[in-house]
Each structure stands twice: as structure tokens, then as C-alpha cells.
Symmetry: D2
Subunit: 275 residues, 4 copies
């Protein structure tokens, strides 16, 4: 079983939780705990061997922990996701391949593209694809069409795998800490459009990518994972973009693995990642 | 306070320890726990805020934990070390500089060199240096002279900072899990002499360095830290050695920081490193 | 145009080659040159803008360069490859996706598996798959059946994408410097079978992967690319294998990109890689 | 000998240069060439074996190359530098140690600190140290005092090894492409003051450092080298700063090695680095 807990910090939390687990004859395989003193916030992830009814544990722990506690016991092992894409294939293909061979840790229910081009690769893997164009319609209507799919499929997470449209604050707030984006730069460098062109102009020696939860502050949401690769003077902006795609794929894959494995806890604008 | 515990695994260990801490009104800042199921072994490192007599804690925890428990409460914050060197300056200088500016986390009591050449840099930092030559004497006598220094200085750790002599099993056993070596390769590749020549001949694209505890099995002791750097066809064996020195310095510094901060637990031939 | 040259070193080689190019009004975009003094060997890769008949250039350069010169002018931009696999999907899928979206720099003509399991993913991408079992037949017969496919398809390169059979020296010699393998360790560490189990037993802090040309010395061929990722005490051997698959995919992709872009020159047991 | 050339690009440059070298019976050990098509600019670095009077080569090459050519033949192998510091010891100590053991590739003539605290470490290495305070005097006077030292010592490069004052545009222009700074962030992220606090607030998962030439645009000069290290939620801003110092030391050391080895060519706001 996996138990993830987040609450206000106070003395005795670990003793309270581990006391209940010992009572229930559960053995702790792995325990990660973090206190953020600046926020007075307690975060914990525990893996135990042994089984006990989830409701029993929830009740016993709930009675001992602070009122604001967020607790997840044995969260769904195989999350459901919907993926939003535009035209680039690299992140989506990686997700589809892992889904297909059951190593994603999640099940892809649906792919939505604002262009039709990635429908073909979805069909090859028998994943439903909906082309929902943003053209010649209001943003509100565009988002409502996406919402219709989401309301039907009820995904745990929405993955923006190079989805190049900006979602409205209202849309984002409806899925708080459940929308994961891959940003094509080492945030907070090169916020905004065309980061590879910016990186080229600046003559940087490393480029990066950032996977983060989406909030209504563009490119400002809680960061899950970041990676970089070296570049040099011989790289054109196009070469940087090509190299960047490799790192985007890799960072998004890592972030998804961490999230789907319940290793990422979010508080305000930061994450605690129990790698 | 820092508390480091290692014992046979059983149900209820975390509850027992954290129960005592809560009783004593100690707040857990950071807790790292690991169970090695293949060895049925429990490892834990806790940082708490608040103070309580070390003896009280020792007694209370001791009464609750298995008989084989190894426990360290508030280990010496500023360890004492003796450094053994031969002729290369890079690792020693790094240690001396950090010692000088009090960021090493340890105090260098003495440097022993089997050549006199590094005496000068020690004198510049006012660190006692003893030239103990291995030439024209039996290994036993050589080691006895080193032991004389160690017995007087009683260091917590002995650091082999590019010490190019092989110590006898008897010597090593006298300082079990207390001798730290920097090996000039990415172990277990290139065991033995002249690893950069071996790496050059093999045409590798990465070279590395390994910091490890020394056991009587040459180059086989528990690994603390490893790092690599890229090399390419333009590197001669000498260039690889030069690049290797950078990574040796960096890996040894990292390993010492982890050990001096009580983040490295040793069991059999492996380490648990709570980074 | 791309020009790749390898020959015995002597004074005036760069002048001779660049003189011909200037005569033909070709502008050098990028020139990489390396001399291996221990082998007295000259390596060069040039990208030029402008066009001139390949035969003219071949003739003019050939008349100026040493007798042993190996020269490739404008090598086939889209190489043909055959991929050999066993049961693991990760490297093959990556190759198939890049092929499908025309970013591999090569065309996958055929996939051969000694188990049938990866046939399905090939069919999804409309790539011919042949199941050639090694069971209950002589190695010679097994290899002959593979050779039949290769002789028909005439690939430029054979990619062993986690092909877990050892090919005979005769087979390998027939495709000298044309068979590329991904080895699941940071060679020369953990040569042979089950490197992740070996890495786990040794308690290493980094694991790696190596892409190399295959020679009749097992795991000893010229290395093209190597990468590593950090691991720690919490990794089981299975976790290391899982992490290793990510790096295997990434290293093989990098090596193929370099080879298909004519950036890898082989001499004896080493490579010159003009990245 | 080392030859470094930069000029407007045109057909035949490599042929012209290598023709002269062949005529003079010089053998090319290593040649790196780069053309920046967007700037129509040619960059080359050549290492040759054999000797010929520098003036002969200069004259012969000069007569063949475009009027705007900047050419350096056998640049001073052991550069002279002056180091400017404030209060942090890590970069300076690393430079002093390398200088002391003659592996810096440059000779430290003088260290100037706007606080007196680093005088002690300089004296230990017998390097002249001047305390030039910025307090209670005009910036102009402060800079004039620094200039007095520079005019006397005539260094090839000025290294800002954690010098926390901003130099005036007039000062900077007087030493164009000769002032090297280490910036405590992965530029262009976290421009300006207190980047570690900014990084902490943003919750980044990597922090970096950037070595660059100083121009009158603060933090905007040509980048020479960049590196990063991973951080996580357990890092306070102070921990990030501590980790950052390691990477600052390492990046500055790398940048200095490249510059002192004549591998860095500057044009407008970018560098070509022939690593």
C-alpha cells in the first residue's frame, strides 16, 4: 500500500501515523518525510507491505491528524489520462508506446488535437482521437468542446504534450494540480514563445525543458522536473529545437512517472518530489 | 540533533523511535528511512529540532529497539580526520581549503605523505605534515609509523586523497568503515593500476571516479559516490588523467560532505546514502 | 555535400583537400579534422555548400591523397537499416517512431526477431517483421536465415536493438563496422550477462549504457556513445533495469543519429566522433 | 604552435591557410573551423607541430586573408591575470591552488578585493593582494584605483571571481572581451541580485552557474560555459547557495581553462568555443 499525507506540521505526526501502521501489523518498506519550515507544512509518503481495509486506516489516521490533512491511501495504481496535443509527435508517441506496453503507469483514454495530424499515430495504437479545432470559434466554445470529452472520460490527469494553445484561467482552475505541461525551456529562462530562438540569440551553452503543473499564471506553475543538454556554437536555432525535443520527451516521461507513482505533492507554487 | 539508526528490520520500528521523540517533544525536521528486504535490514536518519539529554534518548531508544541496533545520537559535528597522500595535490588542496574556511565539516589534524612534496602546501595552511617514506623499509614498519600518528591523533576518519600505496588487510581491519578512498575510475571498470591508460586504450566516451570505503578487497569496498565526465577521441591518456583529476576532486569532496554529515550508513559491501 | 576522409597522416593533407574544394568553388561550412599521433592516422569530415559532380571530386581528391585513403563523398543521406530484436520493446519502438515521422535519418527495411512478440508493433507501423527462431536449430542455420533477409535487403547498417543472441565471428566479419549494438552497461564495467544484477550486487551509484560497433570480441568493439544515470540504495536490480532501459533507448538513438549523419569514423578498435 | 583566425567568410580560406602551413612544412595536429552563416563569419583554431618564425607566418597569412582578419599566432602560453574579489573564497582559492601548482595556464599577478578578508589566503600563496574599498568614495575613484593596478600589471585578462560590484561601462569598454565573470545562476534565468533566493522561491529542480565575458549590458555578455546541478524541495535558499558555490567554482575553472588555451573566440554577443 501507498499512503500520502499532507498537513500542517506539529510534533508527533510521524509517531501518530507509524503507531497506527504498527498496530495494524503493516511493515514500512519506505518512508519519506519532509517539513517545509517556511510554510510550517508536513509532507509524507509511505510504502507498506501487508494489507488492511483502506477505510479502517483512513478512519484511524483521520482521527489523529490535524483537521486540514489531505490523505490518499492506496491511490489508483493505474491513473486515467487525457492527452492534449497540437502538431508535434515526440512526446505523444512516447506516451502512446509506454501505454501500449503497459509501462506508463497510466491509461490513455483519449487524445485531443487542435490539428488532425496526430490522429494517425493514435489510430495505430487504437487510442480514441478527437480533432477539436480552435480556428474560427471562440475560445470558450473551443474549451467547452474539450470539457465535454473530459467530463465524459473523467481522467485523473490532463497531459499537455506540446499543446500550443493557452487555456483560460477558468478551465485551469477546474483541474487544479491535475494539468501537467511540458515547457520547452529551462524555466524561468525564456518564458513565452519561441524559446529556442531566444536561446540561440543569447548564445547559451545548455538548453533545457521543464515539466510543471499548470496554473493560471502562464509558465509559473509548480515545477515537477527539469533537465538540460549541452549545446554549442555549431547549433542553429533549428538544431536547438531538435535537441530540445529529446529532452522534452525525457523530462515529461520522468514527470509523469513521478506523478503516476504518487511521488509528487503540491503546496502553493512548489512541489515536494519524493524520488 | 541528528539520530542515525541501523538494525534488523521488524514491524513497529518507526513507531517506536518516533514515539520516543514525540514524548520528548522533539519535532522531526527530516526523516529518511530505508529497508533492504534482501538483507532484512533497517536504516534511518532523523533530524529533530529541540534538545534533550543524549543519554536519555539513548536509554529510551535502546530499550525499544532490537539487540543488534547501532545507534548514533548527535554524532560529533566536526569530525577529526587524518589525510594520507602521495604526490598529487588536487584532492588534498581542496580538503585543505575547505578546512581552512571551515566548510569541510571536519578538522584536518594531520597529513601523512609517503613523499615529501606535499609538505609545502600543508605548511601554508598550518597543518602538521609527516613525511613517512615507504622506501627501503618493510611494509609492516611503514604502516606502524602511520599507525603511531593515528593512535596519537585518534581521527574519526582516514582519507586516502590519492595515496598510491596498498594498505595491508590488518591495517584496514583496524579502521573498518573509517577509511575513505578516491579511486581514479568508474568502478568496477578499470580496476587496478593506470586506469586512464586503460580507458584511453579502450576508447571510452566517459571517464569517472569513485569514492568508497576501503576494505581488504582491493577496489571492492562499499561505494559512497561516483561521477563521470565526457571525453572523446581528441583526449590523449594524459588529457584523460587531467580531466579525471577534476572529477576525482569533486567526487571525494561530495563523499566527504555526505560522510561528515552522517548521511552514509554501511552494511556489508554497500552503502545507504540519505542525500 | 558531406565529405569524409580517412588515411595515413602526412603534411599537406588539409591543404590538398581544401585546395580542390576552393578550385571547385565549394564553400566549407564546417570542417572537423583529427590526427591520431599514436596511429599516425588522419580523419576529416567536411560539409560544403555548392554542388559539383561526385566523380570529379573523387578523381581529383584521389589523385592527391595517399594510396590507403578511404573517402566517402555525399554518402547516402537516408541509410537503409535492418533491426534485430529479441523481446524488449523500448529501443525498437523508439526507432520505429522516428522512422515513421522521418526523423531517424534512416529507413527501416525489416525487423527480425528471434521471438515473435515484437511483430505486433512492427505491423502497426507497416514495417516487415520476420520471426526467425534460434530454437531447435544450429546457430549456423539460424544465422543463414538472417543472412537471407540481409542479402535481399542490402542494408547499410544492422542495428541490434536488444538482440540477446551472440553472433558468430564469421557473421560479424561479413558486416565489419556495420553492426551497431546497445549494451546494457557502462562498458567495460559489467561485461557479459545480467549487468543490472551485477551493478546491484556491487552497490554502484551510477548505471550506464554503451552503443558500439560489434566485432568478434564480445563487448569489445569500438564505442560510439555512452551515457549514465544516477541510482541509489533504494533501487532493486529490477529498478536498475527499468532505469537502464531509458538510458539504453537514449544512447542508441544518439549513436544512430551520429552514424547516420556520417559523424563516426572507425579505425582499429576506436571511433572518432565529430559531434 | 597554435593559430587562431577570425574574419569575414569567403571561399578558399581553409585552402589559403593550410596551403601556407604545408609550404612551411608544418603538420596540422588539430583543426577546428566554424562558419556562422547568419553573420557570414569564419572562425578557425589550428594546432601544428613544427616551428617557423611567427613573423613569416603572420606575413604570409596576412597577405592571403581578408582585410578584417584578426589573427593570433602562438599566443602567450602563460597568460597574466588580475583577479577581483569581494568576500567569497571558493573561486579565488581554486584559482590560487591551480596557479601555485602551475596548472592554471595563467599566472596570477595580483588580487584586488573590495574587502580585506581574502588577503590572508593570497599571502599564504605569496600573491600580492590590494584592498581597494568601494566605501565612502565615488565609483570613479574606486575604479581609478583598480585601473592603477591594472595599468601597472598589464594583465591579459581580468577575472571577476565573485566580485560583487558592478563596473562602469567605461571601465568595461577599456577591457573589451578581456573581463571574465562568474554569474551565480543559469543565465538568462534569475538575472540580477540574489538568484538563489529567486530560485528557491520559484521551486526549481536545477540550479546553475554561467561564466561569461563582461559587457556594458549587465549579465548579458557572451557566454563561455554553463553547468547545472540538481536540487530538490529539501534545499533551503542557503543550501542552494552552498551547492551553487561548487558549480560556480567548477564552471569558472572550465571557462578559464578554455580561454587560457585559446579555444574561445568572441564575435558580437556570442562565443565560438572549440572544446
Amino acid at each position: 500500500m501507498i499512503i500520502v499525507i499532507q498537513c500542517k506540521d506539529q510534533i508527533g505526526l510521524v509517531a501518530a501515523v507509524s503507531g497506527v501502521l504498527a498496530q495494524e501489523q503493516l511493515n514500512i518498506i519506505s518512508l519519506r518525510e519532509h517539513v517545509d519550515p517556511s510554510e510550517n507544512r508536513f509532507f509524507m509518503r509511505i510504502e507498506v507491505s501487508g494489507e488492511v481495509p483502506k477505510e479502517t486506516l483512513q478512519r484511524k489516521l483521520g482521527s489523529l491528524l490535524p483537521a486540514d490533512t489531505v490523505i490518499a491511501i492506496n491511490p489508483r495504481p493505474d491513473k486515467k489520462i487525457v492527452v492534449l496535443v497540437t502538431r508535434e509527435y515526440h512526446c505523444l508517441s512516447d506516451i502512446l508506446v509506454r501505454h501500449h506496453f503497459r509501462t506508463l503507469g497510466a491509461s490513455v483514454q483519449h487524445v485531443i488535437g487542435n490539428y488532425p495530424v496526430l490522429g494517425d499515430i493514435c489510430r495505430r495504437f487504437e487510442i480514441p482521437f478527437s480533432h477539436i479545432s480552435h480556428e474560427e470559434i471562440d475560445k470558450e466554445v473551443f474549451e467547452q468542446r474539450i470539457l465535454d470529452v473530459l467530463l465524459r472520460d473523467q481522467p485523473d490527469y490532463i497531459v499537455l504534450a506540446k499543446f500550443m494553445r493557452i487555456l483560460s484561467p477558468a478551465f485551469i482552475r477546474a483541474f487544479s494540480a491535475r494539468i501537467i505541461n511540458i515547457h520547452h525551456s529551462f524555466l524561468p529562462a525564456f518564458v513565452g514563445a519561441n524559446p529556442y530562438r531566444q536561446a540561440f540569440e543569447r548564445g547559451v551553452k545548455l538548453i533545457g525543458a521543464t515539466a510543471h503543473f499548470v496554473t493560471d499564471q502562464l509558465d509559473e506553475g509548480p515545477i515537477i522536473a527539469q533537465q538540460i543538454i549541452p549545446v554549442n556554437h555549431s547549433f542553429t536555432a533549428a538544431d536547438m529545437m531538435k535537441a530540445g525535443k529529446e529532452i522534452e520527451t525525457s523530462v515529461l516521461a520522468k514527470a509523469l512517472r513521478l506523478v503516476f507513482d504518487d511521488r509528487v505533492l503540491v503546496y502553493k507554487n512548489k512541489t515536494v518530489v519524493f524520488e
